[in-house]
Symmetry: C7
Subunit: 74 residues, 7 copies
Amino acid sequence: MESERPLDALNSARNKRVLVELKGGKQFVGKLKAFDIHVNVVLEDAEERFEGETKRKLGIIFIRGDTIIMISPE
Amino acid sequence: MESERPLDALNSARNKRVLVELKGGKQFVGKLKAFDIHVNVVLEDAEERFEGETKRKLGIIFIRGDTIIMISPE
Amino acid sequence: MESERPLDALNSARNKRVLVELKGGKQFVGKLKAFDIHVNVVLEDAEERFEGETKRKLGIIFIRGDTIIMISPE
Amino acid sequence: MESERPLDALNSARNKRVLVELKGGKQFVGKLKAFDIHVNVVLEDAEERFEGETKRKLGIIFIRGDTIIMISPE
Amino acid sequence: MESERPLDALNSARNKRVLVELKGGKQFVGKLKAFDIHVNVVLEDAEERFEGETKRKLGIIFIRGDTIIMISPE
Amino acid sequence: MESERPLDALNSARNKRVLVELKGGKQFVGKLKAFDIHVNVVLEDAEERFEGETKRKLGIIFIRGDTIIMISPE
Amino acid sequence: MESERPLDALNSARNKRVLVELKGGKQFVGKLKAFDIHVNVVLEDAEERFEGETKRKLGIIFIRGDTIIMISPE
C-alpha cells in the first residue's frame, strides 16, 4: 500500500484482509475484493466486529463508500 | 459476487435475497431486483427486520442509495 | 414495479398509492404523481402517518429526494 | 400541481401560499415566488410556524433547498 | 427581492441588512455584500444574535453556503 | 474583503489573521495563507480556541472546506 | 506547507508526520504518504490517539476525505 495516490494504496491491499471502519462506529473485517473511486468496497469472508470480538459472520458484503471513515490492512 | 468492481459484485447478487442495512439502523431483506450507480436498490418480497425478527412485510420497495451502509447476500 | 433499473421500478408505481419514509422518521402516503432522477417526488391526496395512524391530511405535496429512505406501493 | 416532473408541480404552486417543512423541524408558510432546480425557494409574506401557531413574521425569505423536506400548497 | 429565480431575489437584497440562519441554530445579521450560486455569502458590519440579543460583533464575515437555512432582509 | 463574489472577499483576507468556525463548534485562528473554491483553507501560526482561550497551538493547518461555517478577519 | 493553493500545502507535508482530525472526534497520526483532490489520505506508521495517548497502532491506513476536519504537520 505504498504509492502517490490514495486509491493506488487501496489497490495494494486487494486480496488482503482489511479493517473497514464506518461513520456509525461499525467495524467490518474481510478480504478486499473490489473498490471504486467512490470508495465503495466489496469484502469476502467478512465479519462485523465490536470491541475486538466477532459479532456476526456475513460472507460477501458490499459497503457504500460514503459511510466509510478508514480502511487498514490487518 | 466475485469481480473487480463493486457494482459488478452487486450484479452477481441480482435475484438473490440480500440484507440491506441503512444509516438509521433499519434492516431490509428481499430479493434484489434492480440497482444503479447511486446504489439505489429495488427489493421484491421485502420485509423490515429488527434484531433478527420480521417487523413488517412490504412487498416491493425502492431504497434510496445514499441511506445504505451495506448490502450482503443472505 | 419489475425492471432492471430502480427508477423504472418507480415508474410502475406511478398513479398508485405509495408509502414514503423519510430520514427523520416521517411517513407520507399518497398517489405517486411524479418523480425525477434525484428521487424528488410528488404525491396527491397525501397524508402524514405516525405509527399507522393518519396524523394530518395534506393534499398535494412535493418531497425533496435527499430526505427519502424508502418508497413502497401500499 | 399536476404534472409528470416534480418541479413542474412546484411551478403550478407559484404565487400560491405553500407550507415548507425543513430538516430541523422548522415550518415556514408564504407565497411561493421563485424556486430553482436545487429547490432553493423564495417566499413572500412569510411566517414561521410552530405547532400551528405563527411564531414570527418575516416578509420575504430565501430558503436553501438542501434543508427542505417537503413543500405543500395550503 | 421580487423575481423568478431565487438568486435574483438575493440580488435585490444586496447592500441591505439581512438575517442569515444556519443549520446549527446560529443567527447572523449584517449588510449583504456578496453571494454566489453555492449561496456562500459575505456580510459587512455583521453580528451574531441569540434570542434577539447581539451576542458578538464580527465586522466582515464569509459564511459557507451549505450551512445556511434561510436568508431574509430585516 | 469588499467585492462582489464571496471568494474575492476571502482573497482580501489573505495573509491576515482570521477566525474560522467549524460545524462541530471548533474555532481556529491563524494567518490565512491559501484557500480554494471548496473553501479548503490553510492557516499559519494557527491555534485552536475555546470560549476565547487558546486551547492548543498548531503551527500550519489544512482545514477541509465542508466543515467550515464561517470565516472572519480578526 | 507554504503555497497559494491548499492542496499544494498538503504536498509540502508529504512524508512528514501529520495529525488528522475527523468529524467524529477521532485523531490519527502518521506519515503522510498520499492524498488526492477529495482529501482522501494515506498514512504510514499510523496510530489512533485519544486525549494525547496512543490508543492503537494501525500501520498503513486509508482515510476517506469527507470525514476529515483538519490536517496539521506535527
